[in-house]
Symmetry: C2
Subunit: 283 residues, 2 copies
């Protein structure tokens, strides 16, 4: 079951004149809800705020968004929360109105299960043919222009494949269609530089920070397909799956298999510890 | 005044779950309406059909769209018609549903004026800093991921500047934020190759065809900024302005000025002649 708040009012409709629909002129955030708590909400609002800055949206009203999150999510609920902001309705044409009236959508899809009961999963991934274009002005933020990922996600139907890696035009590994990617080689943790393409994930930031604190050598770098193929360990992260270990990468007639640790269980544990530290033991 | 048909029903609302809003997963066409006739409708439906093929949408129902255009546009009306198709509502996630239920929006904004009374205009243009990214999978089609153009259009507020030229990442001149660009040098007509970025305009196709028929040497090529700066004549085209001559290109502290013919008045005349030939003399 899904609930919607559009500009604070219950309902799930927007105008076809909304610039989110017309041009993808907007931003979004998606996060887990555990026991009534929207996980890492503060970090998600930080990224949303940064995106508003990049797109020259007015500053977000954090208190208002937090109130609406509390309104739509009841105590003890589990599920997925999504926040969307678009530049509202305007006259025909790309020109941004002087005083845009931002459209604010908060969506909550409840589920019966807690994600905290999920053991670290080992998944198979593939390599997508669809490349991510390079656009430094939009790199890092989570905007509403997502056709490339739609095309990439349509490349496989095998339900045993959980994710598809995407390269950019120059052949760098950027990320999965919906997750960031980390490789571990001889104890060094590497993830992709996202200055030209990709989304800077909240879990990616958390891992980089926590792994560095724990003494790992963490590198944000141009990741090549060889880096991935030759890695000891590969894992993917996002705010809904948190972290999954890659068991196998398959594409064309190539297959790479990976060990199941030691870094990914440690990092998955660190994410879960952080969630428990912030929101207490499960009730 | 604007009228809307959403899936054949009057109204202007769509679901926030619509993939057009969620991901920009859709296409659009915009055209002039003169005296009740949607100009070049058949060519617009051809491009829409091509876009559906690229995005793996179901084939369009041309008869249905033509009926809805006739329903929303009355005899003798003038204005702008827009057709939008999105991949409809789906579960959360980029994965395309097996049987997407396409959202079909037809919008008509009426005006009191005929465009056919408009004399060939001479306009000033600028050069945008925002670059178009290269994405061969989406190049040519008119899709709903238009943030780059929104950013580019926000670069100038001077109302005497009509359009901004956009380069791609490699510095090729691709087009304006909302128009295609042609240069004329020593009688040769050149326009940009759009295999990596840009929208293949209906007017661009028409000019290329008609100019070739009239014996001009027409080249679709990698257009450089030097080609534009050193051109004898520059003009821009789209389905709403039809064709405008560029009088002046200004950026940073550079200015290029151009002569006012002879090619652009001939081509503007050819477009007007075609419209009159298709739809008869003005009533």
């Amino acid at each position: 079951m899904t609930d919607y708040l559009v500009n604070g009012k219950a309902g799930g409709l927007i105008s076809v004149q909304d610039r989110g629909f017309q041009y993808g002129d907007g931003l979004f955030e998606t996060m887990l809800v555990e026991n009534g708590n929207a996980l890492f909400l503060s970090e998600h609002l930080d990224r949303l705020s940064y995106g508003c800055n990049v797109l020259a949206f007015p500053s977000i009203d954090r208190k208002l968004l937090e109130r609406e999150v509390n309104e739509i999510v009841s105590n003890n609920q589990f599920g997925v929360l999504k926040i969307m902001l678009s530049r509202g309705e305007s006259e025909r044409g790309f020109l941004i109105p002087d005083k845009p009236k931002i459209t604010r959508v908060v969506t909550f899809s409840s589920s019966l299960k807690s994600h905290m009961d999920v053991k670290l999963q080992h998944v198979n991934i593939t390599l997508c043919k669809t490349r991510l274009s390079q656009q430094p002005l939009l790199a890092g933020i989570k905007h509403l222009n997502q056709l490339e990922r739609v095309l990439a996600r349509s490349e496989w139907k095998d339900t045993t494949v959980s994710e598809g890696l995407m390269l950019d035009n120059e052949g760098h590994v950027i990320e999965g269609t919906m997750s960031n990617v980390f490789v571990v080689k001889e104890g060094v943790i590497k993830t992709s530089d996202l200055n030209y393409a990709g989304v800077k994930g909240i879990m990616r930031d958390f891992i980089l920070k926590r792994a560095t604190e724990q003494g790992y050598d963490c590198q944000v770098t141009n990741l090549t397909l060889d880096d991935v193929l030759n890695a000891d360990e590969v894992f993917i992260t996002n705010s809904l799956i948190l972290l999954k270990t890659v068991a196998k990468l398959t594409f064309l007639n190539r297959t790479a298999t990976y060990v199941e640790g030691p870094v990914s269980p440690i990092m998955y544990g660190a994410i879960r510890d952080e969630i428990l530290a912030r929101h207490g033991e499960r009730s």
